[in-house]
């Protein structure tokens, strides 16, 4: 099947009214939760996962994907208007976006964020269209050692990107790995870490843990910080359209942000957060007037906002071609695919072309919907921001509870969710990050299986990971990545910004 046929197939799936509807619902909810600080895509997707069981697999994945890239759009709105990042990926947008808003240029800032996101989002989908199929054919040849090295690369990257201490991130990844081992061993059928609790035989559910840590944990810390009082920038937004000079300044940052965001998005563990920080660091370096950054430079909005959207698109590549989730969000997508009885990975494209291409094409349409949805509706989103937190948090709590319960109709999952909500709150307080833990939990069993099979293949020698070229490539990449200065720059800004926020 050529590209033309594939894309036509995608459109035929996507243009079915019901799928268009799911796509719209997805991007709408995505933008909404992107605007609301304290509710991220991870919590939302896990809460809504059970609701998708009644849908078709294609519809469900289209909607969940829509929530994810929709949230990337929505996050920038709060960064610019309120100086509160709706999502982690929008933290850098605060630096220049909010300054622009204070100078009365909120309109162009919002406008360039939307246009940049649209251009980058579309670019990443086009790139995804052409990169995914060849990668899937390479991925078919991957054996256990390649998978193991790739997973190591992914975890290394995530740990390196940790906001604070790398040791703590590494510890959390270990804890996550240990959590994944709870339950029956895939290979031998032995029970591990279950303490005779029958529900634990199937392992610790990803959804209750994710909802707890990212949903409830966030609510608990917001209760403490009385986030109800938010200063919303009261400015008239006259025109959303950036002027000619703005476009001239932003054109290259958007292009560079798109390309870099996409490449970083592909790497497991990288993703949209890294993309936006790296883009900011890069634009500052490329700029002829680096001193303008932090004082309302439009490049500082255009680049990162493009990069995080391109990164969101890129993240689908490891999932759709290798079956490896690059981030907690993708882990939930993987969970959804598995629940629908689909095997994510190299064979997905040939076995379920309607799903594969349908989801990809839905992202083209979703990006157009987002542009249409965002520009006229900014007024509405600002009003959403004014909903006082005392009204908002009981709803979030309730959705967390229902989401955790409905995944298996099991009260034990609700208990796990509440427990991890409290753990998540404590972790946030002592600055132990949750993302490495969750990714460790997701990748744990995959890593274990790959490691054990590799060692059986090699007769107990670890050399197998460096003698096979692709595997060696991943290991080397993990080492090299630690030395890229651009990422270092990004990381420094991240650390500075986060300490400033807290």
């Amino acid at each position: 099947m050529g590209y033309g046929d594939s894309i036509l197939l995608g459109f035929s799936v996507c243009l079915q009214p019901i799928n268009l509807f799911y796509c719209f619902i997805g991007v709408f909810i995505g933008t909404l939760i992107g605007v609301l600080p304290g509710v991220g895509p991870v919590a939302t997707i896990s809460m809504l996962l059970p609701a998708t069981f009644k849908m078709s697999p294609v519809g469900a994945i289209i909607m969940l994907a829509g929530i994810y890239y929709g949230a990337m759009y929505g996050g920038s709105t709060t960064s610019i208007l309120v100086n509160i990042p709706g999502e982690t990926a929008s933290v850098v947008t605060c630096l220049d976006g909010y300054q622009m808003a204070r100078q009365g240029r909120a309109g162009p800032a919002l406008g360039i964020a939307a246009f940049g996101s649209f251009i980058a989002g579309t670019f990443s989908v086009v790139a995804l269209t052409f990169v995914a199929p060849p990668l899937a054919t390479i991925a078919i040849r991957f054996g256990p050692p390649e998978y193991f090295s790739l997973l190591v690369l992914g975890l290394t990257l995530l740990i390196y990107l940790a906001h604070g201490s790398m040791i703590k991130a590494l510890m959390m990844a270990c804890v996550g790995l240990l959590m994944s081992f709870i339950g029956l061993d895939n290979i031998s059928g032995f029970e591990r870490f279950t303490y005779g609790i029958a529900t634990l035989e199937d392992g610790l559910g990803l959804v209750p843990v994710a909802v707890g840590v990212f949903g409830l944990g966030e609510v608990l810390s917001n209760i403490e910080e009385s986030a109800g009082k938010r200063e919303i920038f009261q400015a008239k937004i006259s025109s959303l359209l950036p002027n000619r000079q703005d476009w001239k300044d932003s054109a290259m940052p958007i292009v560079r942000g798109s390309v870099m965001g996409f490449i970083l998005g592909i790497l497991p563990g990288g993703g949209h957060v890294l993309a936006s920080f790296a883009s900011y660091a890069m634009e500052k370096r490329f700029s002829k007037h680096p001193e303008r950054f932090g004082r309302g430079a439009i490049e500082g909005v255009a680049g990162p906002e493009s990069a995080n959207n391109a990164g969101a698109g890129g993240q689908f590549i490891p999932l759709l071609t290798l079956g490896i989730p690059a981030s907690p969000v993708m882990a939930l997508m993987l969970g959804a695919l598995v629940i629908f009885g689909l095997q994510p990975g190299a064979l997905l494209m040939t076995r379920n072309p309607d799903l594969f291409w349908g989801v990809i094409v839905s992202m083209y349409l979703g990006n157009i919907m987002l542009l249409v949805l965002n520009l006229p509706l900014i007024g509405l989103w600002v009003r959403v921001l004014r909903v006082p937190y005392p009204f908002l948090f009981p709803l979030i709590v309730l959705f967390c509870l229902i989401g955790a319960y409905s995944i298996n109709n099991n009260i034990f999952d609700v208990f796990i969710m509440v427990l991890f909500g409290i753990i998540g709150y404590l972790m946030k307080k002592v600055r132990f990050e949750a993302a490495p833990m969750l990714l460790g939990m997701v990748l744990g069993l995959m890593m274990e299986e790959a490691l054990r099979q590799s060692l059986i293949m090699s007769g107990g020698s670890f050399q197998i990971f460096v003698t096979r070229p692709i595997s060696a490539g991943f290991i080397i990449a993990a080492l090299v990545l630690l030395a890229i200065p651009a990422i270092r720059g990004g990381k420094k800004i991240l650390v500075a910004k986060l300490t400033e926020n807290e």
Binding site: P50, A51, K54, S165, I167, K168, L170, M171, C174, V175, L177, L178, F181, D185, I187, S188, F190, E191, R192, F193, L216, V219, L220, S221, I223, E224, E225, S226, Y389, P390, F391, F393, P394, L395, V397, L398, L401, I402, Y405, S406, N409, I411, V414, F415, V418, G421, I422, Y425, K429, V430, R431, F432, M447, E448, L451, R452, L455, I456, G459, G460
Partner: protein
Amino acid sequence: MQRLDKIGSVVCLVIAGIALWQSVKVPMGSIRQPGPGFLPFWVGLILALLSAVLWFQASFRKPAGEPVRFLSGEGKWPYVVAAGFALLIYTFLLEPLGFIISTFLLLIFLLRVIGKQNWWVGVTGSILVTFFTHLIFKVALKVQLPRGLF
């Protein structure tokens, strides 16, 4: 911060200890044929080492500028504890009382006590939210919420 890092490292050390203890209870296998206890054991060991490193790092580092406020936020921390307990109680009441009653009670508590709304807002808000979530999740999406008394 140092003290909190130490607490964190002790907690992780305990987790590592549990992992090591549990992993030797299942077959470890050999390096040629790793068993179900193999990776848990090594990950547990690495975690234990990292915990020790963090402990020493925290001991020998010069004090960080500002201390992390723990359960602080202008004396609001009792609300966090209260919310946590309320949710734990909710998980125990959900099945015997059913979704409608227990959710109504939880929402009143969250709105009135934690959110500091007046009784009128608390009660009407709770009724409306319980009614609509029941409608959306149970009736429209057919999620099997616990019936309990109703």
